[in-house]
């Protein structure tokens, strides 16, 4: 008995199996990028909070301190939706692979069962065989 796969007996893998890795890679990279932005923002926060409240409040327009405070307030506002975009890609990847699973159930296993089960029912059954 051959232990090689007989891919000639079933259709080639559905396209979804090639699409979903792209979606999950993009999703994971977005979530990772959000963490990197968070870490970079931590350095900004550290710079800002090294100053007293009086110094922070007195920061002049165009100063790096005011710019840092602005960044600290603004960046998290888009980083969170950006993170959810990544999670969205990951869930889209899961949906895509489920779609591929559905196609495989129908086109590979379902079609094979439809064709093979009547033939198998007509065959005499032997003694159960196991392996090593």
């Amino acid at each position: 008995m051959s232990y090689q796969h007989r891919v000639d007996l079933i259709p080639s893998p559905p396209i979804q199996t090639r699409v979903y890795p792209v979606l999950i890679a993009v999703g994971f990279l977005i979530v990772l990028a959000a963490l990197v932005i968070g870490v970079a923002l931590a350095a900004t926060a550290s710079d800002v909070f090294d100053n007293t409240k009086a110094v922070r409040d007195a920061a002049l327009p165009g100063s790096s301190l005011l710019s840092d405070q602005s960044g600290l307030a603004a960046v998290p506002l888009w980083v969170q939706p950006f993170t959810f975009l990544g999670i969205g890609f990951l869930i889209a990847g899961i949906f895509t692979v489920f779609w591929g699973l559905l196609r495989s159930l129908r086109e590979a296993r379902g079609a094979a069962m439809l064709e093979a089960v009547p033939a198998l029912l007509l065959q005499p059954t032997g003694e159960p065989k196991g392996g090593e």
Binding site: H5, V31, I94, A112, G130
Partner: protein
């Protein structure tokens, strides 16, 4: 030695008994406790969130002059302490709950794989044929690891958030006037800086854990897809062998 193709997509092996793997057996019993723990954590988060909302309502129901005064009443300081501290660690707890529920899904998928494995062997043995099965492809080896790593990230995040939450509790144990007047180089200003610095990366960190678990789920579904394709091949092989082709 397994070829690259067998490592990636799974090879073939002959099984003596219709048994799931150890991981699949564990998964069969683990998905219920994981789901229950996740739901309990989420329910606890809701209760804590409601308590936090009540504290915020009390706190912001007072005029700014009372909240910001150096001699603010102890109850006002307590409310602020609770709000600021809870805001640091509650998101981590909520996402741990979601992570546990997603892990329950991963365990259910592993359990489904176990049913396919045992069922395939039973069917082949009932037909009196050699009971072949798919050896675990790389996706099957990776998804339990991704789930565990994801949960570890979520737990580590919660531990760090709890520590920073404790620090926030200390900082906001002072009145707003004292916090605002903290001089440069003081421990109070340092602690305030630490709380605000950690908060910037503690927000996205648990999403890395969630992302790992989601990648694991996609790998688990892909493994089921590969098993389905293998079973399609095997059924046709059995029919052809019986027909003498």
């Amino acid at each position: 030695m397994a070829t690259t193709s067998e490592t990636l997509f799974g090879g073939r092996t002959v099984l003596a008994r219709p048994e799931a793997t150890t991981m699949q057996k564990v998964a069969r019993y683990m998905w219920v406790p994981m789901l229950l723990m996740g739901l309990m954590v989420i329910a606890a988060s809701v209760v804590i969130g409601i308590t936090n909302a009540a504290a915020a309502s009390d706190y912001f129901g007072l005029p700014q002059a009372v909240r910001g005064a150096a001699d603010a009443p102890a109850s006002v300081i307590d409310d602020r302490q609770f709000i600021e501290s809870t805001n640091v660690w509650l998101p981590g707890l909520q996402l741990l709950g979601i992570g546990l529920i997603l892990s329950a899904i991963t365990f259910s998928l592993a359990s489904i794989l176990g049913v396919f494995r045992a069922g395939g062997v039973r069917l082949q043995q009932a037909l009196g044929r050699e009971a072949q099965s798919l050896t675990p492809p790389i996706t099957a080896r990776l998804f339990p690891m991704l789930m565990m790593m994801g949960l570890m990230v979520l737990i580590v995040n919660l531990v760090i958030a709890a520590i920073i939450g404790g620090l926030a509790w200390d900082v906001y144990g002072n009145s707003i006037a004292e916090i605002n007047a903290a001089p440069e180089g003081s421990a109070l200003l340092d602690d305030l800086g630490t709380v605000n610095t950690y908060k910037t990366w503690l927000a996205p960190l648990p999403f890395i854990g969630i992302a790992m678990i989601l990648v694991g789920i996609s790998f688990a579904v892909h493994t089921i897809l590969q098993v389905i394709r293998f079973q399609g091949q095997r059924i046709r092989e059995l029919a052809q062998a019986g027909a003498g082709k």
